[in-house]
């Protein structure tokens, strides 16, 4: 028991600090503000390094083209976005963006449809699996860019070849992924659906499709990376407009003031597509995102 006179002294003393415990690295979580700050650091570091290097080079040689200043880049980008091209009368940035996005979404759309139809069929129906899985597995390992000349020869230099390249490039992996996801469905659920009177087709509609939908959207998100790669490769080789075409065109004049904003613009487009797909997944399959929603 503590002696009574000491009680007053104890009250006067500031309450004891909670001892700082050194947590293991894997347990030390980051607050929301801290997370934002940490996440912004790499961007800030790259921007600072660029600004510093650019200012340094321009100080030595004001007509340097390799590292243009932000003002130069902005004015070049702004011109492309607002001043009609002298020859065609188009607003080049928007024409390029429109052409590229149509190709990208057409290619990825075809691939998604194929992934859904073939993936579900391969994953759900043993006969189709025996028939198609070996073929899809082999097609998966063909490097799509090696097919590009074949596509250009067979389909001409038009849109078909570019869209086909994107579709052929991303579809096989998506098909395999969806097929795997369908095969991972708990056999208990499939047995239960049959005891409730489901047949093969209604089980696809009511059980398989809703269950693979979140995975399909993740698949599309992952496929968009390679899709951009194939798009820019195809546009670089044979095209008259498009974001990839523009970059490779102005490369001849060392126009870094156009290339860098274009790269940033492509990045922005890719990030917003990804964000939209995440939102879409939340809308279509709220059940798959319960934990994040809470």
């Amino acid at each position: 028991m503590n002696a009574v006179p000491e009680a007053g002294a104890a009250v006067a003393r500031p309450p004891p600090r909670r001892p700082r415990v050194r947590l293991r690295l894997i347990n030390a979580t980051v607050s929301r503000g801290g997370g934002l700050l940490l996440g912004a650091l790499p961007f800030a570091a790259v921007a600072m390094a660029y600004l510093f290097a650019s200012a340094h080079r321009l100080a030595v040689n004001p007509s340097d083209k390799l590292l243009p200043s932000p003002a130069q880049m902005w004015s070049a980008f702004f011109d492309l976005a607002t001043v009609p091209d002298k020859r065609s009368g188009d607003l080049i940035l928007w024409a390029d963006t429109f052409a590229s996005l149509i190709r990208l979404f057409a290619g990825v759309g075809v691939a998604t449809l194929a992934a859904l139809c073939l993936g579900v069929a391969i994953g759900f129906i043993p006969r189709v699996r025996a028939f198609l899985l070996p073929f899809v597995t082999v097609v998966c390992v063909i490097p799509p860019l090696a097919l590009l000349p074949i596509l250009f020869i067979a389909l001409g230099l038009g849109e078909t070849a570019k869209i086909t390249l994107i579709a052929v490039g991303v579809a096989p992996v998506m098909v395999r992924d969806i097929a795997n996801r369908v095969m991972e469905l708990p056999p208990e659920l499939i047995a239960k659906a049959q005891t409730l009177g489901g047949d093969s087709w209604t089980m696809v509609l009511r059980l398989v499709l809703p269950q693979v939908m979140p995975r399909l959207i993740t698949c599309v998100r992952l496929a968009l990376g390679p899709a951009w790669l194939f798009l820019i490769a195809a546009e670089a080789i044979a095209s008259t407009e498009g974001l990839g075409y523009r970059i490779f065109l102005v490369r001849r004049y060392l126009s870094m003031d156009v290339i860098l904003p274009y790269v940033a613009w492509i990045t922005l487009l890719a990030v917003s597509t990804d964000w939209l797909l995440v939102r879409l997944s939340h809308v279509i399959s709220p059940w798959a995102h319960q934990v994040q929603n809470k």
Partner: protein
């Protein structure tokens, strides 16, 4: 109508024999409890009755004809896990039954029939005490609520035979007792034949009208999987005076014979 006759059933996976010489004759409306040590093949037996697996030999008759080798609406099932559809809310899970049964190629009923199905589903939710959870997804339901939903869903399918694979194995003891009452009530009302696999011998005696013990009778020390399990004990329980402690102890000892650790646990408790 919904009797089960099993004669000379065998099941092997390659060289490993799981079940042999299994004979059961169950009349319509009986409640069979299957007990036995882990891995003795009682769940395999249930999956054969379900049609999820095929027997390697012997005859299985459900109703009047040999069993169809795939799951059908004649036999309902409740598993220990994965028993409800995670992408549907509680109410949608129950509506799915009517959608599958008479929804045609869309797997969905419309109009007046949907209204009727919804009415029936809501009544059923009420009965299993899930009315407040009708719009929740299974992920936000507790284990007991999910199993109640699973039983409700299976019963809406109006099966002649209800198969239960350790349906209450993952539940807390208190909730288990509630579930026992619910199941007994539903079984008394619907009068279907029930086959339940369980690890809990008390539960087997409490619910069943008949307790079947699965065990191996033949052992080959050089090749343990040479012989499978069979039904070693078939105890009909009198409805009036069901729980004879002597029988419980006897069955507990039988189940424990192949697994010394569980035998010790059973005798200790």
């Amino acid at each position: 109508m919904s009797r089960i006759v099993v004669h000379g059933l065998e099941k092997s996976y390659g060289d490993a024999r799981v079940l042999e010489r299994v004979n059961v004759h169950a009349e319509s409306g009986e409640f069979l409890s299957l007990v036995g040590a882990s891995g003795c093949g009682k769940s395999t037996f249930l999956r054969i009755l379900l049609g999820q697996e095929q027997q390697s030999g012997g005859l299985v008759v459900v109703g009047d004809r040999p069993i169809v080798p795939e799951p059908t609406p004649q036999r309902g099932i409740v598993f220990q896990r994965y028993s409800v559809f995670p992408h549907l809310t509680a109410l949608q899970n129950l509506l799915l039954v009517e959608d599958f049964r008479s929804g045609g190629p869309f797997g969905r009923v419309f109009g007046a029939r949907r209204k009727g199905a919804r009415q029936e589903a809501e009544t059923m939710l009420e009965r299993v005490g899930l009315a407040h959870a009708r719009d929740l997804y299974p992920a936000s339901l507790s284990g007991g609520m999910q199993q109640r939903l699973a039983i409700a869903q299976t019963l809406l399918g109006r099966p002649q035979i209800l198969l239960l694979d350790e349906p209450f194995g993952a539940l807390d003891p208190g909730i288990r007792v509630e579930m026992h009452e619910l199941l007994t009530e539903l079984w008394t009302k619907h009068g279907m034949t029930v086959v339940m696999v369980t690890h809990d011998i008390g539960e087997a005696f409490k619910l069943g009208t008949r307790v079947l013990v699965f065990d191996k009778v033949r052992h080959d020390p050089q090749f343990p999987s040479a012989y499978g399990a069979t039904i070693t004990y078939d105890l009909k329980l009198d409805r009036k005076d069901r729980t004879s402690q002597r029988d419980v102890a006897k069955v507990a000892a039988m189940v424990g014979t192949t697994r010394p650790d569980s035998a010790i646990a059973t005798t200790a408790s």
